[in-house]
Symmetry: C2
Subunit: 181 residues, 2 copies
DNA sequence: ACACTAATATGATGGCGATCATATTTGAGC
DNA sequence: GCTCAAATATGATCGCCATCATATTAGTGT
């Protein structure tokens, strides 16, 4: 049945939002188009009225997740405390799209990689802006290394099946960045 | 046809080695059991004589990759130079199993996570051993943060579709760890 | 050498999932 | 209000793949 143009835009937003969450939570391949549509309260057939393919959806979902996360924390220690927390580790679906999908994106077509690249760039710049003043070149280096350490720590903390080790990875990486920056 | 027990062990090793490479290269889901067997020079049917399931294979393949990588470089700068190099970034199939599979392992059953956890532990200890002398507690912190930064940098460098940015992520993270350690 | 069984090969099976075709409903523009 | 096309729903299709069943071959222990 046909719906309002407004409704249709709302549907598209809903699909994107659910896809963004599901992809982060379960990985790209493990989520079916039908599952996304069901989560959005629709049936699978209408999907191709909104997106060209599942991979097209991924690219938009990544962009969505990145845009949604662009409200930065002011200071680096505050950001770090949130980012490298048990809460963030355990809430993958609503968490950092890079930690959840950057490894996966290597295997995906250009559009998805491009969206991810934009997110990584933005993240580096955001961290650089939050760093205490110093030489521009050093700020960028610190921002890059901090971003890498944060993403890496979250990925490792999520991979590990041992809770104390997982906590330790988060805590020690956090202290290390705090100390170095 | 039946083969020598020796042959059979060789087949198993071959399957593991090809699986280890293929999983790193293309991801767990994108590799089929038949593909692994073909790469090992066998047909798909015999697979279940060697492993209980595809996921069982993954667990053993991770353990394999980790064992194969356990010949450490002596010094941290030397290890870093290899690890955060364009060559390593571009040779995923023979590269670090954590950078290739840690993010994926979060979605896999216990055995795979357990093998990965052992690898992460070993890597942390190896880095700690390679660090210049200092207080034990600080060494461990530096080792954990360095491991996280290295894995994160490699993942980000591989995700990005822009060569200069990718190179920059590797180079700056490397300098940052070198400097801090 | 023989019998037995282990290793592999060949050939199903069953399910899932991306995508497409067609039907249905109902906004939108006149 | 009427017409037409646009969203969505329903229902294929087609291919892939993990796993299993059965056949074939030939080591292994005697």
């Amino acid at each position: 049945m046909r719906v309002t143009q407004e409704q249709m835009r709302a549907h598209r937003r809903r699909i994107l939002s659910e896809a963004s969450r599901l992809f982060r939570e379960k990985g790209f391949e493990a989520v079916s188009v039908a599952e996304v549509m069901k989560a959005a309260g629709l049936t699978h057939g209408g999907f191709y009225g909104h997106f060209a393919s599942k991979e097209d959806l991924l690219a938009h979902a990544i962009a969505e997740a990145i845009a949604e996360k662009s409200d930065a924390e002011a200071t680096l220690p505050a950001f770090l405390a949130t980012y490298l927390s048990a809460g963030h580790r355990d809430a993958v679906g609503g968490g950092c799209p890079m930690a959840a999908l950057a490894a996966d994106v290597r295997l995906r077509p250009a559009a998805a990689r491009s969206a991810m690249t934009a997110g990584i760039r933005a993240q580096i710049e955001r961290i650089a802006a939050a760093l205490p003043d110093s030489v521009t070149e050093d700020r960028r280096r610190e921002a890059i290394a901090s971003a890498a350490a944060m993403v890496g720590a979250l990925i490792l903390a999520r991979a590990v099946d041992d809770a104390p080790l997982s906590d330790e990875i988060l805590a020690e990486t956090r202290r290390w960045i705090d100390h170095g920056a």
